[in-house]
C-alpha cells in the first residue's frame, strides 16, 4: 500500500507538468499582442510594456517562461495581472466560496441521489421509479444554466417568493444551497441512476440471499449487506465529481452572481488576463489529480478484493 501511494504521488509530477504546460502554452503562445487593448484606446506606453514584459518574462522562449512561472508557483507566487492585482489574493478570496458551493453540491447530490437510487432500485417499476427516471432524464437533458435561471426565477421574489435567491459577496452556507443544488443537479441525476442500477444488479446476489437466510432484519440486509456493495461505484463517482464541480461552477456562478473561482476564470478569459487563467486552471488540475488519487486509494478500502502491490 505504502509503495503504491508513493508511486501514485510520483506519477502526479509528470501529469501535473504536462497539463500545466499545455495550459500555459495555450494561453501564452497565442499569436496576438498581449498588450492589445490593455491601456484603453491608446497603445500602451513603451515603458509599461517593457516593465510588464520583464515581469511576465515575455521576452524569453515559451519553455523558459513556463519554468520561470512554475518556479514562482512553487514559492506560492501566482503573479500579478496587467493592472497590478495579485492573482494569489484573488484566488484566496474566491476559492473558499466555490469550495463551499462545491461541497454543498456534493452533499446534495450524494444524499438525494443515493436515497432516490436505493428506493427505486429496491422497488422497480412503481410510481416512484418512473418519477425518478423521468425527472433524472429531465435534469440530464437540461443545460445547467436553464435549471439555474428557472429555479432562481420561480423560487425568488419575482416568482413564488419562496426564498431569497440573491447571494451576497461573502455568502453563507444557507445562501449557497440553491446554487449548490443547481450545480449538483446533473450529477445528482447520474448518482440516482448509478445507485439504482447498482442496487438492481446486487439485490438478487447470493450474499443478499444469505443475509436473509441468516434471519437478519431487512434494515440490515439492505442497509449493510446490499448498500455496502452497491455504493462502491457511486462513491468513486462522487469522489472524482468534486473536481468537475469546481470547474463546472462557471455557469452556476454566472447565473447567481457569485464571486467564486468560476467568475474569476470567466473574467480572466474575457479580459485576456493570461496569468489569472493559468493560475486558476493549475489549481483546478491539482484538485482533480488529488481527488482521483484519493478515489483510487478509497477503492482498496471499499473493496477488500482490490489490493495494491
Amino acid at each position: 500500500m505504502g509503495r503504491y501511494v508513493l508511486r501514485r504521488l510520483l506519477q502526479l509530477i509528470p501529469v501535473f507538468l504536462g497539463t500545466t504546460f499545455l495550459i500555459y502554452a495555450l494561453v501564452w503562445a497565442i499569436p496576438q499582442d498581449p498588450f492589445a487593448g490593455k491601456c484603453g484606446q491608446r497603445p500602451c506606453d513603451p515603458a509599461y510594456i517593457a516593465e510588464m514584459s520583464q515581469k511576465l518574462n515575455l521576452n524569453d522562449p515559451l519553455v523558459i517562461q513556463y519554468f520561470k512561472y512554475l518556479g514562482n508557483l512553487l514559492v506560492g507566487d501566482f503573479g500579478t495581472t496587467f493592472n497590478g492585482v495579485s492573482v494569489g489574493e484573488q484566488i484566496a478570496t474566491s476559492w473558499p466560496i466555490t469550495l463551499k458551493m462545491g461541497i454543498i453540491a456534493l452533499i446534495i447530490e450524494a444524499v438525494i441521489g443515493i436515497v432516490a437510487g436505493v428506493l427505486t432500485g429496491l422497488r422497480k417499476q412503481g410510481f416512484l421509479d418512473n418519477l425518478v427516471l423521468v425527472s433524472t432524464l429531465f435534469l440530464i437533458s437540461l443545460p445547467v444554466f436553464v435549471t439555474g435561471f428557472v429555479l432562481r426565477l420561480y423560487l425568488g421574489p419575482q416568482g413564488f417568493d419562496l426564498m431569497d435567491t440573491s447571494v451576497s459577496s461573502d455568502p453563507t452556507f444557507g445562501e449557497l444551497i440553491l446554487p449548490g443544488f443547481v450545480l449538483g443537479s446533473l450529477s445528482m441525476a447520474y448518482v440516482a441512476r448509478l445507485t439504482r442500477s447498482s442496487i438492481v444488479e446486487n439485490r438478487r446476489a447470493d450474499y443478499v440471499r444469505t443475509a436473509i437466510a441468516k434471519g437478519q432484519p431487512q434494515s440490515r440486509v439492505v442497509g449493510i449487506h446490499l448498500l455496502r456493495n452497491s455504493l462502491i461505484p457511486v462513491i468513486t463517482f462522487l469522489g472524482t465529481d468534486l473536481g468537475s464541480l469546481m470547474g463546472g461552477a462557471i455557469v452556476t456562478e454566472g447565473v447567481f452572481n457569485i464571486n467564486g473561482i468560476g467568475g474569476l476564470i470567466f473574467r480572466g478569459i474575457q479580459e485576456k488576463e493570461g496569468i489569472m487563467v493559468t493560475g486558476i486552471v493549475t489549481l483546478l488540475v491539482l484538485v482533480y489529480l488529488l481527488m482521483s488519487l484519493i478515489v483510487d486509494l478509497l477503492y482498496a478500502v471499499l473493496d477488500p478484493r482490490i489490493r495494491y502491490e
Binding site: A213, K214, G215, P304
Partner: protein, 316 residues
C-alpha cells in the same frame, strides 16, 4: 408452489412432502431443475415473490405451520431454528466483510452479544469446523480463503445460533473431490454432536450413500420415491431411481459403456400428462401417459409414485 413466468405457470413443487427428525439426515436427490433447491428455499422462506407463489400446503416446524406465521416470526426462525448453507460459498458470503464480521453479526444482532464475546464465539465456531489458526483467520475476507475453507466458514456461520435443522443445498458441488469428502465428514460429525436434523440437497448419489438416513428422490417437482437409504440402494422402488443407480459408474462393470437416462427432464411449464417420467421411462406402458400414479405404500415407510411400484421393487 408455483412460479408465474412469462412462459406460463410453472408448477415447481407438487405434492412434495417429507419430514425430518432431530439427529436425522434426509437426502433430497434429483437432477437440476427437479425442484430440490426450491423446496429448501420455500422452507426457509427466502423465495422471491414474484415469481414464486405458494398456493397451498404447510411447512411444520416444531409443530407450528411456518406458512401461517408473520414475516417477523419467520425471520426469527431463520438462523435460530432452521439454518442454511449454500452451494457456492464464494458468492454466498459477502465479499466486502470479514468472515468474523459475518459470523459475529448473527451473535450480536440476534443474541445481543457484546463485540468481545461475539469475536470469541466466532473463533470457537471456526475452530469447530476445523479451520486451522482460527484466531488469526477470523479477520480475513472470504476471497482470502480456499474453496473448502469458505464452505467451512459458511457452516460455522450457520451454526452460530445453534439451529435445530440445517439445510445444506448442494454444499459440496463447487468443491473438488477430496475436499468434498472432508466437508461431508465435517457435516456428519457436527450433526451427530449437536443432534441436529439435516436436509441434504444433492444430485450426487455417492454423497447420499455415506451420510443420509433416508432419501427422497425428486423428479419434475414431485417426490417420486421415498425410502431408507439401504433399502433404496438395495432395491429401488421407482424406475427413475433405478435408472439413476444404473447410471452410477461401478468398479465391477469396468469396460462397459456407462448407462444414461435418455431424454431431458421436462419443462415445468409443460409437464407431460400422466406420469411425468413416462417419456424417459424404460418400463413405460399405456397407463403411464394417461393416469397420474398415486403414492404406493411399500411398507417400512417406503413410498413410490409408480403404477407398478411393487413390481419394480420385487425385481430389484
Amino acid at each position: 408452489m408455483e412460479f408465474r413466468t412469462r412462459d406460463g405457470v410453472a408448477k415447481v413443487l407438487n405434492g412434495v412432502s417429507y419430514h425430518v427428525s432431530a439427529g436425522e439426515t434426509l437426502a433430497v436427490l434429483g437432477e437440476s431443475g427437479s425442484g430440490k433447491s426450491v423446496t429448501a428455499q420455500t422452507i426457509m422462506g427466502i423465495l422471491d415473490t414474484p415469481p414464486g407463489f405458494i398456493t397451498n400446503g404447510s411447512i411444520k416446524f416444531r409443530g407450528e405451520d411456518l406458512l401461517t406465521q408473520s414475516a417477523e416470526e419467520r425471520r426469527q426462525v431463520r438462523g435460530e431454528g432452521i439454518a442454511m448453507i449454500f452451494q457456492d460459498a464464494l458468492s454466498a458470503l459477502n465479499p466486502v466483510f470479514t468472515i468474523g464480521f459475518q459470523i459475529e453479526e448473527q451473535l450480536k444482532v440476534r443474541r445481543g452479544m457484546s463485540k468481545v464475546d461475539a469475536r470469541k464465539r466466532a473463533v470457537e465456531l471456526l475452530d469447530q469446523v476445523k479451520i486451522p489458526n482460527a484466531k488469526g483467520r477470523v479477520s480475513d475476507y472470504p476471497h482470502q480463503f480456499s474453496g473448502g475453507m469458505r464452505q467451512r466458514a459458511m457452516i460455522a456461520m450457520s451454526l452460530a445460533l445453534d439451529p435445530e435443522l440445517l439445510i445444506a443445498d448442494e454444499p459440496t458441488t463447487a468443491l473438488d473431490v477430496t475436499v468434498q469428502a472432508q466437508i461431508m465428514d465435517l457435516l456428519a460429525e457436527i450433526q451427530k454432536e449437536r443432534d441436529m436434523g439435516m436436509i441434504l440437497i444433492t444430485h450426487d448419489l455417492g454423497v447420499v450413500a455415506d451420510v443420509a438416513d433416508r432419501i427422497s428422490v425428486m423428479y419434475a417437482g414431485r417426490i417420486v420415491e421415498h425410502a431408507d437409504v439401504y433399502e433404496l440402494f438395495r432395491a429401488p422402488g421407482h424406475p427413475y431411481t433405478e435408472s439413476l443407480l444404473e447410471s452410477l459408474p461401478r468398479v465391477d462393470l469396468r469396460g462397459q459403456e456407462l448407462k444414461t437416462i435418455k431424454g431431458l427432464p421436462p419443462s415445468l411449464t409443460n409437464i407431460p400428462p400422466g406420469c411425468p417420467f413416462n417419456p424417459r421411462c424404460p418400463r413405460v406402458f399405456d397407463r403411464c401417459s394417461t393416469e397420474v400414479p398415486v403414492v404406493h405404500n411399500l411398507g417400512m415407510g417406503r413410498t413410490s409414485r409408480c403404477h407398478i411400484a411393487e413390481e419394480v421393487v420385487a425385481r430389484g
